[in-house]
Symmetry: C2
Subunit: 393 residues, 2 copies
């Protein structure tokens, strides 16, 4: 279980909300009318949570030099001009426009999976920022701080139907919901700004850990009271049964040894960056497979965090028995939640239906610490791939 608190920080303000939409709304609110900066604009009146703003009071009147430089809102806001973002879902969800930059794409001129993971982290953090939280961004709720609790991520799943191209304009939505009795879910939806087509979906599960004892914790009632108003039930990915990821051992077909984190791999928490984990895992797959295939899905199960002094092994095993099952599961999910995406796939002739006979590949992954007596698990994962279509750029 890794303390990737960079993915789920939670606003400390408490607000009531009633929005509860079960699926993607094609009449989506648009960012097109937002000014980049400055005073309130006409568009804010279109945002239906504007009326709730008056009930929020700033809990800390002090604005630091850092906050001025960062342009962090001191009260909950419905629009962030600097980040081209706005509140959605009755004020509890977040939508940000991003443009894929030249250094976020790979040799094929489409965004790398790592870039997509980076953007998920970024929008999650910005969601919290826009809430008006006056901490350094790593804060839990007040109730969590009183109880020495932090968020840790236990599971993450990303499905990519289309990789955005260099310069493409995206809209990324993110929101949180309940996960069981003691957990939280954070979901994301990445759409093309030009067409509205869904390019990618992601979901993650978070639990609370005591910062001192490093043990997992139930959610205290006072914390539930703080965060429950932010929960909405909409899910980016509908999955009936979570498939278990088997634990690999040293008989795995592919093995990369002696992986050592470098300074540039550490994040603000001085832990190895989540994205670095994925890079280590993908680099264990032979290049000729990576070149001919495109990742369509990754599921990560986090076990413990990796520090800067750890030496890591990356294990990887091809997983051939999941081909048909995976194809059927994909069909079910698509029919449930992703009609836009399915339409796009059919139109472009390169998606689910076209790839059904192409035998998608699956791999099971494991990163563990290279200890003297035992190997402590860092993260298990499963990746699903499809044949690359002919280069379109």
């Amino acid at each position: 279980m890794a303390s990737f608190s960079t993915l789920a920080y939670f606003p400390s303000t408490t607000m009531r909300c009633s929005s509860n939409r079960a699926r993607y709304d094609p009449n989506k609110k648009s960012l097109n009318n937002i000014k980049i900066n400055g005073t309130s604009t006409k568009s804010t009146t279109k945002v239906d949570m504007a009326s709730t703003l008056a009930s929020v009071s700033t809990e800390n009147g002090y604005i630091s030099e850092q906050q001025v430089r960062q342009n962090i809102p001191t009260t909950k806001q419905s629009v962030d001009h600097y980040r081209q973002a706005m509140s959605i879902e009755g004020g509890v969800g977040y939508r940000q426009r991003v443009v894929i930059r030249s250094y976020e794409v790979g040799p094929d001129k489409t965004a790398t999976l790592e870039s997509i993971l980076n953007l998920l982290q970024e929008t999650a953090l910005n969601h919290v920022w826009m809430s008006g939280l006056l901490s350094d961004g790593f804060g839990a709720t007040h109730g969590m701080m009183r109880n020495d609790l932090i968020w840790v991520v236990s599971r993450m799943q990303v499905q990519v139907d289309h990789y955005p191209i260099w310069g493409e304009v995206l809209e990324i939505d993110t929101w949180v919901g309940a996960s069981g009795k003691n957990g939280m879910r954070r979901d994301w939806l990445i759409r093309s700004e030009a067409t509205g087509h869904v390019f990618a979906r992601a979901t993650s599960t978070w639990v609370m850990m005591n910062r001192k004892t490093r043990r997992l914790s139930k959610m205290p009632e006072e914390v539930r009271a703080e965060i429950a108003p932010w929960f909405i039930e909409k899910q980016a990915i509908t999955e009936d049964v979570l498939e278990k990821i088997v634990k690999l051992d040293n008989k795995a077909k592919y093995l990369n040894k002696d992986l050592k984190p470098k300074r540039s791999d550490l994040d603000m928490n001085h832990h190895v960056n989540n994205v670095k984990y994925v890079r280590w895992m993908l680099e264990t797959i032979p290049d000729q497979i990576l070149e001919a295939h495109q990742l369509t899905s990754i599921v990560l199960e986090y076990r413990r965090e990796c520090g800067s002094s750890d030496t890591v092994q990356s294990l990887c095993e091809p997983d051939d028995d999941g081909i048909l099952k995976d194809g059927l599961k994909q069909e079910k999910e698509t029919s449930l939640g992703n009609r836009f995406s399915l339409a796009a796939e059919i139109l472009e002739g390169n998606g689910f239906i076209a790839s059904f006979g192409k035998q998608p590949l699956r791999y099971t992954h494991l990163l563990h610490i290279d200890g003297e007596s035992q190997h402590e698990e860092i993260v298990r994962a499963r990746t699903t791939w499809k044949k690359k279509k002919k280069k379109s750029l």
Copy 2:
């Protein structure tokens, strides 16, 4: 000499301009009035190159699906709403607002040098895009294409006075100018959006290479006629004499061997990314030095490009005799061109004057191919460092 054409692509439209400002103008044009999207805004009337737009005709009426997705302008524009950017300097310069993202900062919560280099590349490319160039972004001018010429970068220099913090809003200006008879210069200025203080300056030198013979070329007259109207004389960094970077040999104090590019290190040209070079060089400096110091300047001299199959060595030598000289040079440059920055340094007590007695460190670097009989140089560099001030975040 590396074909880092990603840094200097040049617009193919020809436009007259007369702007020629020698230094940073505090009455800078502001991005604050730009709308994110859509129709022309009131602010465009403030941009003094608007009247020149009428003279530009679209040379290719066809708009591809890719262009729609990327929102590439089909004619020269003064404002790019998606990238929060606008033309400056009479229409030939470019200004973009960017926010430092959570994954662009290191463990100290300030932007990494690599992130800054990435943003220089990004703004240079976007400058060309906004010109209305209808290519895939790798295009030279029409005259260059007729002569089989491409741009290659020969030198790059970056000075960082302040590292922006996580979430900080920046304005990055970039423009091009003449360099000698046959070269081109591209400069950048990075300022705090909140205060206007200059955080970083950069300059680069570009020459033309024949794509087939791989030999350097003079600038043909027809090409000069195309690009000269875009040149302005303003320089981000004033340097009287270019100091030569000595060539290191295997007696260098620090050496990293067996560096192999990975798939994720390759850019859209299938060459090793410029930023990866810098990472390799900096990782050769011992961690305890990196942790206590902050890079203030880097000069890179490119010799040849590095392909995906090359094995690279990184050499590094501390350079103690440059301490006093470097301090004096820094004083001169500061007094010439960077009054805002100097004022900020004095105010914060951590800048040039305060650090004058602190013995700035310098290192000489070399990356070369680990060949069997000889080592071909990829890039030489020199880095200058100062002691880190106490953590402010």
